[in-house]
């Protein structure tokens, strides 16, 4: 429920408040919801995120949405768990201590997860789309679309983190005192 709400909120901000989506998208805010929910709440966040990917756009823009994207949506949601799995396989286990190879209290480590998951998301979703002759946009090439997904996911997540750090400033200050 929490992850669904978070995803829909960032998607709404992206499309209706900041108008950051479109062919030249530079920020894709919902990727932050995927990263935050999977890193901090684990695999139990996945059903909520997947539900959000499917119903979120329909709630926000009922007229322009099609349910035919259910596989790309699943790939996008699974990009973060896949990243954690690969990093775990390489010996970087996610933990909360300073000694943990991948510390979830360290934003640099979270950015690393964001970076790799954005790579998986951009490559795998576009691989699926191109092999099935589907496309989100007819005006740009596959390579440009991969780059757009990759950069959009990273910049969108960074923007959300900066925004949250600013927004939660009073809470963070209280936690320090």
């Amino acid at each position: 429920m929490f992850s669904t709400a978070l995803w829909i909120m960032w998607h709404f901000l992206d499309t209706h408040v900041l108008f950051l989506t479109g062919d030249g998208v530079l920020f894709y805010l919902p990727h932050a919801a995927r990263v935050l929910c999977v890193v901090y709440f684990g695999l139990r966040a996945i059903p909520g995120l997947y539900a959000a990917e499917l119903i979120g756009p329909y709630i926000i823009d009922p007229g322009i949405y099609s349910f035919s994207i259910f596989i790309p949506a699943l790939i996008s949601v699974m990009a973060v768990p896949l990243t954690l799995l690969v990093l775990n396989f390489l010996g970087f286990t996610l933990g909360r201590k300073i000694s943990s190879p991948l510390n979830r209290r360290n934003y640099k480590h979270i950015f690393l997860i964001t970076f790799i998951s954005a790579g998986f998301n951009s490559l795998l979703v576009n691989l699926y789309l191109s092999t099935n002759n589907l496309s989100f946009s007819e005006s740009i090439t596959d390579i440009a679309l991969v780059s757009q997904f990759f950069i959009g996911d990273i910049t969108g997540t960074v923007l959300v983190f900066i925004f949250l750090a600013m927004l939660l400033k009073p809470i963070l200050r209280q936690a320090r005192n």
Binding site: L18, L26, Y40, R104, R105, M166
Partner: protein
């Protein structure tokens, strides 16, 4: 429920580290709004944004934006460069150290 709070605490600790490194702890709400607007505009225009664009996008008054930009500039967070096209216009760019 205890685990949920632990997870939230970890997320807040991560954001706290980011806030410390970005050195945005002392920002007022107006400064945050202007800073946030400048970040978004920087992605669209590498040469910098003019003040009118920041006023339009932040939804704040021109005088408040001017005062805030001067403070951010004096703290070295942004640079105010003169526009090559229009000498009367200043372009706002994020300081590369920020």
């Amino acid at each position: 429920m205890k685990e949920f709070y632990k997870n939230i605490t970890d997320a807040l600790a991560m954001l706290n580290g980011l806030e410390n490194d970005l050195n945005i702890r002392h920002f007022t709400p107006n400064e945050l709004k202007v800073f946030y607007t400048i970040i978004i505009r920087s992605a669209c225009n590498e040469d910098g944004s003019n003040i009118t664009e920041i006023v339009d996008n932040s939804g704040m008054s021109r005088s408040t934006v001017y005062k805030t930009l001067k403070k951010l500039s004096s703290e070295g967070i942004i640079n105010l460069n003169q526009s090559e096209d229009d000498g009367r216009e200043s372009l706002v760019v994020l300081n590369s150290r920020t």
